[in-house]
Structure formats: C-alpha cells, structure tokens
C-alpha cells in the first residue's frame, strides 16, 4: 500500500497508522522540518511550490522502486507546499518491512531520491532577501 500525497499541512501522527502492518517488524520514518538558521542566517520561512501532476508521478515511481527493492509492506511519501515556518514539518517519508535493515535503507532512499528528482522548489526567505535553494551552482 502506497500513500503518495502533496498536502498543505503534514500531519505527523497519521504516518505511523499508514505504515503499520501485521507483517512489519520495522517501521522507519523521516521528517524534514524548517530549521531556524541556514549558514548562520535567521530563516523567516520556507516557501514550497510544485508541478503537482509531475511531482506525484515522480513520488509514485520512487515509492515503487523502494517497494520493489526492499520488499516493503507499506510506504509513505508526503510533501507539503505553501509557506512553512520554523519547526514545521515539510516532508515525511516512511517504509514498513519485516526487518529493520530494509526499512532504514528504504527510508533513506526515499528522501534522498525525492530531493534529487521530484519537481518541488523551495525558496528560503530571510529578513532581507529570498533565495531559490540549489538554483545556482
């Protein structure tokens, strides 16, 4: 079972419910959240935008890749869009498998690959400027 979503707000409490499964002895969840400082500059907010149809398609492919490779029972890939402030969750990924090796590796794969491929763009807003993250070398 796959849970692939772009949402306005991440509800961290539902992820465990999504991932619980009678054959899963291990569930690994990663949450990415807004940090207060980037390179010693105080962050006001992050703004996320997405090409939704394509983002969902890429997230779904990544989830399928992880399910195949690590024999997952369940998987969650959920990303927020809009304006997010310090300490708010922006992404949650999770994997549920018989043993813990598989869910740890799969969870790491989900977030690493999401960051490489999924068309979501993050603007860091500081008090005196804003920057599209990773846009320039």
């Amino acid at each position: 079972m796959k849970y692939i979503e772009i949402v306005d707000k991440i509800d961290t409490a539902t992820a465990y419910k999504n991932l619980s499964h009678p054959s899963s002895g291990g569930i690994c969840v990663f949450v990415g959240a807004v940090r207060d400082f980037t390179n010693n500059e105080s962050v006001v907010s992050l703004e996320f935008e997405t090409y939704k149809a394509m983002a969902l398609k890429e997230m779904d492919k990544i989830a399928d890749e992880a399910v195949d490779k690590w024999q997952l029972n369940k998987v969650v890939v959920r990303h927020a869009v809009g304006v997010k402030h310090v300490e708010e969750p922006v992404v949650i990924v999770g994997a549920s498998s018989a043993h813990r090796d598989a869910c740890f590796e799969a969870c790491r794969y989900l977030i690493d690959t999401l960051k490489e491929r999924v068309p979501i763009w993050k603007k860091e807003v500081f008090s005196n400027k804003s920057v599209w993250v990773s846009a320039h070398p």
């Binding site: 398609k57 763009w121 599209w132 990773s134 070398p137």
Partner: protein, 80 residues
C-alpha cells in the same frame, strides 16, 4: 506553444507561463526549446541544471515536441 514555469524559471521570465513568440520558428525538440530559452533569457545559463518535462515526465533532449504536449521548464529541484 505554451511552456509551464516554476520556481526560479518563473522569476527569470516574469510570468507563470511562457508563450513561444509566434513570429519565431517553433522549437521541434527539447534541445531546440532549451536553445530558444537561453537565447531569449540568458539567466538560464547560470542555473545548476535545466531540464524540460514533456507530459509531466523528464524528457531527453532529442524528444520531439508536439502541439498537444504539456511542456514545462524544470529548474534545479529543492524539495525536502
């Protein structure tokens, strides 16, 4: 030909959709579209990467563009 814009591509072009000027030759491949973009907006040359999506999939440079395709510029992604 309409091209969807996101993130810094929207800022560079100053709109959320880019219409290839009617008087110019329409780009027939992804490669030709990229060439048009960097000529009209040299700022695209400064990005870490520049990808094109055709029908919401990453598209190789040799992919042929057709009138009914949904085309988008994908500047460097930064989700997570």
């Amino acid at each position: 030909m309409k091209v969807l814009l996101f993130g810094i591509a929207k800022d560079i072009i100053g709109a959320s959709v880019f219409e290839v000027p009617a008087q110019s030759k329409y780009p027939s491949t992804v490669k030709e579209l990229k060439d048009v973009l960097v000529v009209l907006f040299p700022e695209f040359n400064k990005l870490s990467s520049l990808a094109i999506a055709v029908n919401s999939e990453y598209a190789d440079e040799n992919i042929i563009l057709r009138a009914e395709d949904e085309i988008a510029i994908i500047p460097p992604v930064s989700g997570g």
